[in-house]
Symmetry: C2
Subunit: 205 residues, 2 copies
């Protein structure tokens, strides 16, 4: 049955493991079109250009920003992050389901631009897990870590603005829930294109 492409936004404070979930989800639902963000920050150890982000210089980011290339952008901890507009727009128009992984700030802006998007908030199993994951990343100095923790607490309070909440306790279970959300949203009556040929036989009644 015909329908428009879904925009699915996975979001969470840093340290909830949303990147791991996203990679699992893409493996299990390879038809999802993952649109990377552009960032001006340098890659962290293990991060790969074209897999985790499009890494550009601050000057190049600024140039694209002025050219209107981003559907939303934000400065987070002194680095610039942007979501490419054209790639998402074209994929949705082709009927593809688009997956984005955004910080809480970015998700909020996207919600305004895509009110019928599917916004999913990932929660850590508990406070300790969140702190451990932020510490365990090992790429942050103590000041950065404290700042990230403080931001995380603030961001958690925004979960009520999301459509769905998934607790990242057991990865397999969390991924199964993400898959179920995508599958269910595809069945939503409000998303179905009733001009599709399938519905001819009902309308002709």
């Amino acid at each position: 049955m015909g329908r428009r492409g879904l925009l699915i936004v996975i979001s969470a404070p840093s340290g909830t493991g949303k990147g791991v979930l996203r990679r699992h989800l893409l493996r299990e639902m390879p038809e999802l079109r993952f649109c990377l963000s552009v960032t001006s920050r340098p890659p962290r150890p293990g991060e790969v250009e074209g897999v985790d982000y499009y890494f550009v210089s601050p000057e190049e980011f600024q140039r694209r920003l002025e050219a209107g290339a981003f559907v939303e952008w934000a400065e987070v901890y002194g680095n610039l992050y942007g979501t490419p507009a054209l790639e998402i727009k074209e994929a949705l128009e082709r009927g593809e389901d688009v997956l984005l992984e955004k910080d809480v700030q970015g998700a909020r802006t996207l919600r305004e631009k895509f009110p019928d998007g599917v916004f999913i908030f990932i929660l850590p199993p508990d406070r300790q897990a969140l702190e451990e994951r932020l510490r365990g990343r090992g790429t942050e100095d103590q000041e950065n870590l404290e700042r990230r923790l403080a931001t995380a607490w603030e961001e958690l309070a925004q979960l009520k603005n999301y459509d769905y909440v998934v607790v990242n306790d057991r990865v397999e279970e969390a991924v199964a829930q993400l898959r179920a959300i995508v599958t269910a949203e595809r069945c939503r009556t409000s998303r179905i294109d009733f001009s599709h040929p399938y519905f001819q036989w009902i309308r002709r009644i």
Copy 2:
């Protein structure tokens, strides 16, 4: 995480195979509490008391109706069908997810009483399949069949009042979609009980 019980209503015109889907779904999600309807009509071949319906005499149905035992009831093709109120109410209060299989008329009344219920419309793969299934049942005389077909066309027009649409083309796929809808609805932010102990650590921030 704590949440109230879900009320899930599967509905469709006769001849879309919703009974088969319901049985598969219950096998795969045995935690769902299936609440049977009460009917005054005699069992069809193969139908079992306490499995498909509670079969009662028209007089007994009337007695229960007057006692306020039904959350909704309807006369369909001269037979009475009712949904027991107490069983559903108590299960939902215990946090159990309740599954109901209702005709389109019954579902509409339930929607008014349970606005936050999950209403799923089952569609046949095409018009021919619907006609064949109604004929294939072999329990209807020609006049009944024509009447059922006419009603089916009318009822199909109501699918826009449902939250989800599942096409019963391949049974396994349709059941997977039903499972996904239940799983996803359990993750809906609006259904989460934020007074649950899990959320203490977020609120205390």
